[in-house]
């Protein structure tokens, strides 16, 4: 029972059903599972709820799933970079649930860790706190946030092995380690599959227990804000 799949399409085989809740890693376009997003689009699965910090850009990343109207609901912290998103949202075609970024990250970690709820100060006294349980601890007010899980998590890592052990590079790590935990099935695409035993056990970011399938795939790695200084 190998975890290694030859292509992004085969790595999603049997998983892409209508109505799926999908977590998708990445911050902006950094660390997104480009090939798995494209494969999910090609699967034609409809009526998706997508949990992702951002919504991609027009025509790239999750923007590809928006173009084809496969997404019904987004759970995100920031969605600024996407005209098609704006059009669908303002037109009432797309449901949107904003979460503060740290609350989103912690909800995903909680979901993967068997924690159905936790309290946070973030959002107290704002729209985010409305309708949520409030509770005092040591004289301060907190709100209850719930754990998030997904039927499918698609993430991007730098290197991985056939056991599903993963390492990430730089800030491309972001949400992927928690999403790996919170997905009922987690599929990782990696720049490189390396032999089992070549990753140092002290420095594995996501252990294989959280990863059910893995595929090596080449990423374009588009940059949103190329900012340089003089050499």
């Amino acid at each position: 029972m190998s975890k290694v799949y030859p292509t992004a399409t085969s790595a999603l085989e049997g998983l892409c059903v209508n109505g799926l809740t999908v977590m998708s890693g990445g911050f902006g376009l950094c660390g997104i599972p480009e090939n798995l997003i494209a494969a999910l689009r090609d699967s034609g699965a409809q009526n998706l709820t997508v949990i992702s910090n951002n919504a991609g850009v027009d025509g790239f990343g999750l923007g590809q799933l928006l173009e084809t109207k496969q997404i019904t609901k987004m759970v995100s912290s920031y969605v600024g970079e996407n005209k098609e998103f704006e059009r669908q949202y303002l037109g009432g075609e797309l449901e949107l649930e904003f979460n503060p970024q740290g609350t989103l990250a912690e909800r995903i970690r909680a979901g993967g860790s068997g924690i159905p709820g936790f309290y946070t100060k973030t959002g107290v006294g704002t729209l985010i706190g409305e309708g949520k349980e409030h509770k005092e601890f040591n004289g301060e007010t907190y709100i209850l946030e719930t754990g998030l899980k997904a039927d499918l998590a698609i993430i991007k890592a730098w290197k991985g092995d056939a056991e599903g052990n993963l390492i990430y590079k730089a800030t491309a790590r972001n949400f992927s380690p928690m999403m790996a935990m919170a997905g009922k099935i987690t599929v990782a695409e990696v720049d490189e599959i390396v032999p089992v035993g070549s990753l140092d056990p002290n420095f594995i970011h996501t252990t294989g227990i959280f990863v059910q399938r893995i595929v090596e795939a080449k990423c374009e790695k588009r940059i949103e804000q190329r900012t340089v200084r003089e050499a």
Partner: protein
């Protein structure tokens, strides 16, 4: 003469201390990085998962896997470290960041801030702003004192949906500086920009502050 954006950033940078861990918001606050006094060890956090943010890369150094919270390409420093978003916000929510400097649409006299949403317009989202104002030890709001129509942005009560309640400790605008010590309710005028008169700043401030 009111402060320029760069002068505002320089003034905010005076609040930095050796050993501080600091998160700078997008926009004017980003400029604060250019005013860290030489020899002072200040570590910049980027909430997408990095401590020890370095300068922008040269063309050769650009790495799509290495960006800041504004999605700009950046570089590392010898002291840098990377971590996941949950750890990043554990840092923020847990009060480990000494200082956050962020922009604002409105700040109220009791320290509320609104900077993420204008009803009726397309809302991009709060990103990490709500976590930052709720969690960081000290928050400085850096913004133009008035809007384009000359209306005060430092006001009695925010009219826009809040980002956080009672969380701003210092206000730095183009006209001057206000602060309040921990536990204090009201802000006090601390400093005027050069050639800004008390009359002018009072006329442009709706918030009830201590002027002396």
């Amino acid at each position: 003469m009111a402060w320029t954006r760069d002068e505002m950033a320089a003034r905010a940078a005076q609040e930095l201390e050796d050993g501080f861990y600091v998160n700078l918001g997008i926009g004017i606050p980003t400029l604060v990085a250019n005013h860290i006094p030489g020899g002072m060890n200040v570590t910049l956090q980027s909430e997408n998962g990095m401590l020890g943010m370095g300068p922008f890369p040269t063309e050769d150094e650009v790495d799509p896997d290495l960006i800041n919270a504004g999605k700009q390409t950046i570089t590392t420093l010898p002291k840098s470290s990377f971590f996941d978003s949950a750890t990043s916000f554990a840092m923020i929510r847990g009060g480990h960041i000494d200082l956050s400097i962020l922009g604002a649409m409105e700040v109220s006299e009791n320290g509320d801030i609104a900077n993420w949403m204008i009803p009726g317009k397309m809302v991009k989202g709060m990103g990490g702003a709500m976590d930052l104002v709720a969690g960081v030890k000290r928050c400085i709001a850096l913004f133009d004192h008035t809007n384009k129509r000359g209306k005060s942005k430092f006001i009695k009560a925010c009219t826009l949906p809040l980002t956080g309640q009672n969380c701003i400790h210092m206000v730095v605008t183009d006209l001057g500086v206000f602060d309040r010590a921990p536990g204090q309710q009201r802000f006090r005028l601390r400093e005027l920009a050069p050639n800004v008169t008390l009359d002018e700043i009072q006329a442009k401030t709706e918030a009830d502050v201590i002027w002396t």
